[in-house]
Amino acid sequence: MTAEIHIRCRGLEKRFRDKAVLRGVTLDVRTGETLVVLGGSGSGKSVLLKHMNALLTPDAGSVEVEGVVLGNCREDDLARIRRNVAMLFQQAALFDSLTVAENVAYPLREHHLCAEQELRERVRVALDMVGLAGTESLMPSELSGGMRKRAALARALVLEPRAILYDEPTTGLDPVVAAKVNHLIRDLQRRLGLTGVVVTHDLGSAFFVADRIAFLHDGRIRFVGPPEEARASTDPHLHEFLTAA
């Protein structure tokens, strides 16, 4: 059976000044799966992720989302695509000057998607989904690290995207909160059928949420396959990465 491809990366290359971060990354993300991109710090995981919703443009290569080549899109078209490919940032990236409810409502207001009454209901449902009911009036500075991540997830989910990109979703969280976030990622995939790409170097999280694992090293994909095959891989860099933990 050939699975449908949601996000297709072909030969991605990216340099920042003299440093080559991606050196020809080719990777497919199948519709409905959770693909985990593993790799050490500075291996280019976040840079790869930011190509998948065109926050970054490649120096060479291409990214397709649901068959649309992002490189050919104007900013207006990209805005429409980004509504369907949500992103959870490593630092949550909540807007400091807005309350939790205003943060979650931000994309709905921006795109004029619903009336104020319905908007409040959608914000409530999104916060409820991530276990943050009752935090509407709090400011981001009043939230713990885990709550900030979950509030950012609610903001990402409120537009009802078809895919979600998670940048280090458990980094900086204690094990209990990290486990909650991992369960949430799995739960969202099961309940909403979301395609997920998780960038992490947290092996516990990776093996819990992954349908498939990709290993990025030195700007190249060294391995792609199911978690059990990753464990049995003979690639020396992946083996070292998995056993070092």
Binding site: E75, R80, F89, A93, L94, F95, P107, H111, R155, L159
Partner: protein, 269 residues
């Protein structure tokens, strides 16, 4: 680094042959021009959120009023004091109000107000946008399908363009009042004489010349501040450096452009 990608040019070839300082200057000039063009296109394509504009109007205008007034009143007082004692030697202190008034309205009012706003508002804009850039908030706006230019740049640009001329007029008036205070208390001139003498020589074109300059200054300050904020790299340290660059660049641009704008307005009038 990532949040400002839209502002950057990846070309590397010819850059290596040029001095680093020149490359940085041309990069900034190109970035500011592109950002300005983008802001104008965005503002015309989809009107800005007026709630965001009014917040910025308050931030730029109302909250800068005290520092602008303080600068203006003391500048007017010092000018009157200096000129009064100097002109008195030639028996010409009755001309104080004319010289103080015209120099304030045509020159010192617009320039000093712009320098104050460049320092207070320009630095504030860069620090705020820079902090948002390094904490991924600018990328988050893009990731949510929204436009950082529409939501962050256009309201700030509009607010500075509207409020700097308004603050300049207020500064001119307060500066003239400062001069009047010294004229009456130190130079023994009557208030009526001081004002009459000034209104005899002050033309509408003097006021328009000052206001015209302030519109250009407003654009320079806001465009530099927004560009520097969105181009920040390197965390808190980078925000600090960008803020300093904004104040220096805005001040120098105001002072240098003032000369050319003065020439331009002299030719035009």
């Amino acid at each position: 680094m990532i949040g400002s990608e839209a502002l950057r040019t990846p070309e590397q070839g010819a850059r290596a042959a040029l001095p680093t300082g020149l490359v940085a200057f041309l990069d900034a000039l190109g970035g500011i021009t592109l950002l300005s063009g983008n802001a104008v296109r965005t503002a015309f394509r989809r009107p800005p959120e007026w709630r965001l504009v009014s917040e910025q109007l308050e931030q730029v205008g109302w909250r800068s009023l005290s520092i602008v007034n303080l600068t203006a009143v003391f500048t007017g007082m010092v000018l009157a004091l200096q000129l009064g004692s100097y002109l008195a030697r030639f028996g010409a202190k009755m001309f104080v109000s004319r010289i103080v008034g015209v120099s304030l309205v045509r020159e010192m009012g617009p320039v000093l107000t712009a320098l104050m706003i460049g320092g207070r508002v320009g630095a504030g804009i860069t620090a705020e946008l820079g902090s948002m850039t390094v904490t991924d908030q600018v990328d988050a706006i893009r990731a949510l399908g929204a436009s950082p230019v529409r939501n962050l740049v256009v309201p700030r640009l509009l607010a500075v363009l509207i409020m700097l001329p308004v603050l300049t007029i207020i500064g001119d008036l307060v500066g003239v009042l400062g001069g009047l205070l010294i004229g009456v208390t130190e130079l023994n001139l009557s208030a009526a004489f001081y004002i009459n003498s000034l209104t005899q020589v002050l033309l509408l074109e003097d006021v328009f010349s000052g206001l015209g300059k302030s519109i250009f200054f407003a654009y320079f300050i806001a465009a530099i501040a927004c560009y520097e904020g969105l181009a920040v790299t390197g965390g808190a340290d980078g925000v600090g450096r960008a803020t300093t660059r904004t104040v220096v660049a805005a001040s120098i641009t105001v002072l240098v452009s003032d000369f050319f704008l003065t020439k331009l307005f002299m030719i035009a009038t």
